[in-house]
Amino acid sequence: MTKSKVVSLDTAMEKIKSGQCLMVPGFVNCGVPQTLIAGIIEKGYTDLDIISNNTSVKGKGIGKLVHENRIRHITCSHIGNNTETVEKVVNGEINVTFVPQGTLCERIRAGGAGIGGVLTPTGLGTIMQEGKQILEVDGKAYILELPLRADVALIHAWKADKMGNVIYHRTARNFNQIMASAADYVIVEAEEIVEIGELDPDIIVTPGCLVDMVVQARLEDRDE
């Protein structure tokens, strides 16, 4: 029958390597996979290439990876909430590539859905169009934006069943859903792990087929 994907944090961490590209969801510090981040800190992984919307706030959430100097490069839309990230970017300790938030969504989703690129009006006439192809459709210009993928996605679920079907709570959904589709390997931490069948088929947001491992999120890793 259906095998359980539930593993220990330790086992899940074996799937990660220094130098990898990781997708890390979260909006400021909401919906961030804090237990998986704690695992990365603990294991000593470093030189990471992070794709995330932002870097939480100083010393919290994704900010822990910043504080511990684990990030080489980050692709994101905003770092303003985290003074430490700003400092390290200014000092050249972290390279940053800014992408408008909606474009970041499109690029990640394209990466997960086999789409080779999307045309967006966002950023047209700004520095965001530099080095990019501009296409005209029906007399309107658009920027061609290309897909993004990662080696591993770290997902924060509200509830996950043992085969990896996931639901999210309120605005903690944010980037979790698309990131779970756009990485070669997907590790979910869940506040609550439930039996298969407990989640109504109509309310499941991320299908278990996208998920490789499920880890119990630890309350002590959660900081707001």
Partner: protein
């Protein structure tokens, strides 16, 4: 009512009943305190929610998974809903947001806006601002007329890195309401006691001055 409240109150009169609105942090969010009677709007926030309703009140139950566009804990109205960031920006880019109200570093007579980067000074990133300004049906800028040093913020041509091109529809300051049209910036309303000359002297853009200019209140 202070300057900021005065501006926010005027901006709020652009809202129509049932509008989906996206409001920047600060002055734009103040608009909600000045909704005209019979006008009920739904606040969309780019992190994936419709129906944000402000910080939890004393004694109100707190759900840390409900945050606003600044990442602060917020609350939701009955009838609101949550979705993911991809869907959220689909709503924004697809023109489903009726009005966005935002601040500006600079705004110019061609409707260009600069509100995300001051080279050598800020490295915050644009967040969702570029998508919002190019996606929302109506873009309203609320801003003090001049910067802290008294220099004009409304220009012939923005000098800072742009957020979006030709997208601004209205500029509301403590002095006036400017309507950006194909023809140029029209001085449509003046604050009480403010003269056309004062606006012109504090603005570094070409203004179209109609014969009749309405009062802002």
């Amino acid at each position: 009512m202070n300057k900021r409240e005065f501006i926010a109150k005027r901006a709020a009169r652009f809202f129509e009943d049932g509008d989906l609105v996206n409001l920047g942090i600060g002055m734009p969010t103040l608009c909600l305190n000045f909704l005209p009677e019979d006008v009920d709007v739904w606040v969309q926030s780019e992190n994936g929610v419709i129906g944000l309703s402000g910080s939890p009140k004393e004694g109100e139950e707190v759900d840390i998974d409900i945050v606003d566009a600044s990442g602060s804990v917020s609350t939701m109205r009955v009838g609101g809903c949550c979705f993911d960031s991809f869907t959220s920006f689909g709503l924004i880019r697809g023109g489903h947001v009726a009005v966005t109200v935002l601040g500006a570093y600079e705004v110019d007579q061609e409707g260009n806006l600069a509100n995300w980067s001051i080279p050598g000074k800020t490295v915050a990133g644009m967040g969702g601002a570029m998508d919002l300004v190019s996606g929302a049906k109506k873009v309203i800028i609320t801003s003090e007329h001049c910067d802290k040093k008294g220099n004009p913020k409304i220009l012939k041509k923005c000098t800072l890195p742009l957020t979006a091109v030709n997208e601004v529809d209205y500029i509301i300051t403590e002095l006036c309401v400017l309507h950006r049209t194909e023809a140029g910036l029209i001085l449509e309303e003046l604050a009480p006691g403010v003269s056309v000359e004062e606006v012109v002297s504090k603005t570094d853009a070409d203004l179209i001055i109609p014969d009749n200019i309405k009062s802002m209140v």
